[in-house]
Assembly symmetry: C5
Homo-oligomer: 157 residues x 5
């Protein structure tokens, strides 16, 4: 049985987990989804850890929201180090979806960034879990983006 963990926060200003879960349910209907909500991004690593280790999830998607200040960015860095160390410990993917409040001053655009990023990364997770390490190789070097239009390759080869 495939188990996918979903970690999100009450700090976030968009319910990104809802969109990630929709994608997982559609694309990986055989999966059990376990959700874990924490206050903020610094609480995400322990939740991801408990889903991977205690609940036996095969992979986790985390949905974080980061404020605009310098200290918020340090919290983001600490979370990132933690999630990377957790993945090294467990050998399982934790796909980290992070939206930074200063990515746009337009609420509607910020909302669209968050939803698009959550959906596209949920799809990335599904592909890695379902088809393994070469599932994304056809897109390698293609300049794909989540939350924004794809950048594309720097030059046509």
């Amino acid at each position: 049985m495939i188990k996918i963990g979903v970690v999100d926060t009450t700090f976030s200003r968009v319910d990104m987990a809802k969109y990630a879960i929709e994608v997982i349910e559609t694309e990986l209907p055989e999966a059990t989804i376990i959700r874990y909500t924490v206050p903020g991004i610094k609480d995400i690593p322990v939740a991801a850890r408990n889903l991977l280790i205690n609940e036996g999830c095969d992979a986790v998607i985390t949905l974080g929201w980061v404020g605009p200040g310098a200290v918020d960015k340090y919290s983001y860095l600490a979370m990132s180090v933690g999630l990377i160390m957790l993945q090294i410990m467990t050998g399982k993917h934790v796909i980290d979806v992070t939206v930074h409040e200063d990515e746009s001053s337009d609420p509607e655009e910020l909302y669209q960034i968050a939803v698009d990023r959550a959906r596209k990364h949920a799809l990335n997770l599904v592909k890695l879990v379902k088809y393994g390490r070469e599932a994304l190789t056809q897109y390698a070097g293609k300049g794909l983006r989540q939350g924004r239009p794809d950048a594309g390759p720097v030059i046509e080869e």
Copy 2:
């Protein structure tokens, strides 16, 4: 028996632990509270570690105060990395309440930020310990804040 650890510092300019303890005693009266006071934020991780591992606490709340300088922020970053690694090691929550001295130049406002943040995060801790990983899910994406008014969702869905 539920055991909750509370770590605070002599560097802090508000006795935040007092407010956190009040909330825990009210909302989780069956819990034993163990307090540990250290000089400053870089001493917090080992105190939290000892409460979780030596004293068998189920979760810890830490109450840190950070100065306004660039070096103070690096100390905050180091503490954050440490607390996240500790949580990954133990699988237990360490809810980190941090007040930055430069959040306000008004002492009264700084005091209110500290008290509100300590109380709200103590409540977050209680909910996670009492009801588990979905206790906060009804607030996911709601833009909750501690120490400040809630930001709310970026748009109404």
Copy 3:
């Protein structure tokens, strides 16, 4: 049997793995190459870990692409800490090829930087795997660069 892992991303705007693989196939034809593609740089450490530990690779080359913003650089820092800790854990080399989008505003130049860096570091990896710790000693202190012309020694000795 020699096994070399190659990790790259869909975020990258140049298919650097192609050039790295060409070099490895030419210079180390007896090696088996295992490729692993992930969304972005923060996913690289777990992929490298799985290639080293689960697949038994002798060494890994990673090909990352970093955006121009401050947050992108923090992600780079977190990835770097992760890859270094992974190497300390395993005792195996993970040669990290990173291109920063802001290294050039000219797409053609950026492309050339990426290709040259991927090729030269693939050759570094081959030499370390094939000849060991003194393979590069003849170039020590020579100011070699990847992606750019060599800087050379600061003074002629």
Copy 4:
């Protein structure tokens, strides 16, 4: 038998260990003091580690001196992460006394900061070792400072 480790550096411009040792000898006369001198702050964590693990020290005080440049601050950050991880591993306190060369342009004031900080933190260490986790609780939230006059609480409660 109580054993206290003292780590200092040849980079430092004040012999802070001398003052820390005086306090420990006076306040904790039954303790054996073991001193370890290293070149600079990045060498401090391994010295502290050896005192805690090889020599069986109950706690360590470290006395570091940091230059004014951005790179010096990164070294400070790396040292801080290391000392925090060491404390999490061992469960023992490493009280870190750090003086930053740019805290004052007046040599005499810099000297006084260093001496005062070393003495006060030595006393903190003694209290934690002698009386345990609530030894400093009476000072929690009191805005104590080392090297500077106490800041005090932000408002009188």
Copy 5:
């Protein structure tokens, strides 16, 4: 038998290892020296790790060269965290000699900084290996510098 590891890079623009090895051979003639050359500073920790753990070196000196950009400094930070964690794991000294390209715009001066720093830190390493933790205590607080003239104590005591 004493074994000393020497790690250097092809990125470096001065052959610092040559000077470090000269000092070690003169001051510690009974030691076996094992050299390991890697491409750049992020490859240094795994080389140091292999010398300490696989080759049984008693201590390692690393000779790194860092570019002038912000990203170069992040690489320096990641390397520093890695070397500190490695030392905490092994209990052995890794004396890190780092030259930053922006320490001087004069090539001759940069060369002299590199040579002097390599030599003086090699001597530090020899003293720590030969005489142990109090070998440098007579210089504690003396404001010694490597690569630059000694700063000296801030005031005469």
